[in-house]
């Protein structure tokens, strides 16, 4: 018998407490996941509409020369990296950070060639500890972020692109596929690919004051909207990842409790048996 009965009992108790916590976290994550999915859904009409209007302008005025649509020689690259503020979300942060670091190592030789915009405390800590060049950071976002929460960082990134301080901009986040599967993704944001107009019903709009000016007004907004929808998707991924991780933790705790209960019962029985044999031995000696 390896452990005393009392130690085993204590260990079972502590596993049960742990399981209660992970179970609660799992349920909270499930609720938040639902809310974030709804939110991502609610954000769709806006993004779709902007895309539609830009597509119709771009197709109507062929060869528009807006700088945000133009590829130029790349001297410096910007990365927007979306991570979470809190841990206990399985491989959520580790996956995306590894992906970003690999991409950077592949593409760049020196630190002057890129800069990072980071969202979320985990990512911020990771990059600042390793001395990566951070351009801007946002932490402590609410569970359901509003557009205003990321306007600053998205605006700054777009602005730097317009000022030619960076020549391309990538968006790195966990793409939401399902509650159990999230894919770390690095996607080019700027220069924008002019969205294709998917149907032939493009209208002949009148633009006020002119199509170029409308485009110049809309493109930065479009880029910011893309950042926002990526953030919403990343938030949904975070909760999905947390839900899975906590579900696994709960299962593992249950397994462990079962095993410990078994050895507890064995130990208890062994103790009883021993006691009986001692009594019998004592009685025999008396006789």
């Amino acid at each position: 018998m390896a452990k005393g009965i009392r130690e085993i009992r204590r260990s079972i108790k502590s596993k049960k407490d742990m399981r209660q916590i992970t179970k609660a976290m799992k349920m909270v994550a499930a609720a938040k996941l639902r809310r974030n999915q709804d939110k991502a859904e609610a954000a769709r009409p806006y993004a779709d509409k902007i895309q539609e209007v830009i597509a119709s302008i771009a197709s109507g005025t062929s060869g528009s020369k807006h700088p945000m649509l133009q590829n130029r020689p790349v001297k410096k690259t910007g990365y927007i990296v979306i991570t979470s503020d809190r841990g206990l979300a399985g491989g959520y942060n580790a996956n995306i950070l590894r992906k970003v670091v690999n991409t950077i190592n592949e593409k760049h030789k020196s630190k002057d060639e890129y800069g990072i915009f980071v969202i979320g405390r985990k990512g911020r800590d990771f990059f600042s500890k390793r001395n990566y060049p951070l351009l801007e950071e946002v932490t402590g976002l609410p569970v359901s972020p509003a557009f205003a929460d990321i306007k600053k960082i998205a605006g700054a990134a777009v602005q730097m692109f317009e000022n030619e301080q960076i020549d391309e901009l990538y968006l790195c986040y966990n793409k939401f596929q399902s509650a159990i599967s999230q894919i770390p993704t690095v996607k080019q944001l700027l220069p924008l690919e002019a969205p294709e107009s998917n149907n032939a019903r493009t209208m002949n709009y009148e633009y006020e004051p002119s199509s170029e000016e409308v485009l110049a007004d809309l493109l930065p907004k479009y880029a910011e909207t893309l950042v926002y929808s990526a953030l919403l998707e990343a938030k949904a991924s975070e909760e999905g990842s947390r839900m899975t991780a906590m579900g696994n933790a709960t299962d593992n705790a249950t397994d462990m409790i079962n095993r410990l209960t078994l050895s507890y019962n064995r130990a208890r029985q062994a103790a009883i048996t021993q006691e009986i044999s001692e009594i019998v031995a004592g009685a025999n000696a008396q006789a």
Partner: protein, 132 residues
């Protein structure tokens, strides 16, 4: 009187959706009134109140910032970074923001971000106007 569909959408949600006789908004070059069967139009909007005349004298006002308007046949869509109905507006906060912005603009020190202060002022004024 004929009517058209009006939708006001922000990145977060659809703020308003309904039928209206006329929409009055402030474009880059001044006030624009849209009535049903207007020709297709796209224009950025200034930070200002938008008035949606629903029926007769009834109208819905909202404070819109960072938006643009798309008109197509009998449908008007306003996309904006923020759009607030009178009920959503905290008047005290808007007044405080207005004073703060005015003070900033009056001080005129070197590192002042004039554009930012002006935008804040416009937003505050649009909100106060709508909430009245």
């Amino acid at each position: 009187m004929s009517k058209m569909t009006v939708e006001v959408v922000t990145p977060e949600r659809v703020v308003y959706s309904g039928q209206a006789e006329m929409v009055i908004a402030r474009g880059l070059q001044g006030e624009i009134g849209i009535m049903p069967n207007h020709m297709p139009l796209v224009t950025p909007l200034k930070t200002a109140p938008v008035r949606i005349k629903t029926e007769g004298d009834k109208e819905v006002k909202m404070a819109v910032s960072g938006g643009f308007m798309e008109v197509r046949g009998d449908k008007v869509t306003i996309l904006a970074e923020t759009a607030e109905l009178p009920g959503d507006i905290d008047v005290e906060r808007a007044k405080a923001a207005k004073e703060r912005a005015e003070k900033r603009l009056a001080e005129k020190y070197a590192e002042l971000d004039v554009k930012r202060a002006e935008r804040a002022l416009q937003r505050a004024m649009a909100r106060i106007d709508v909430a009245k």
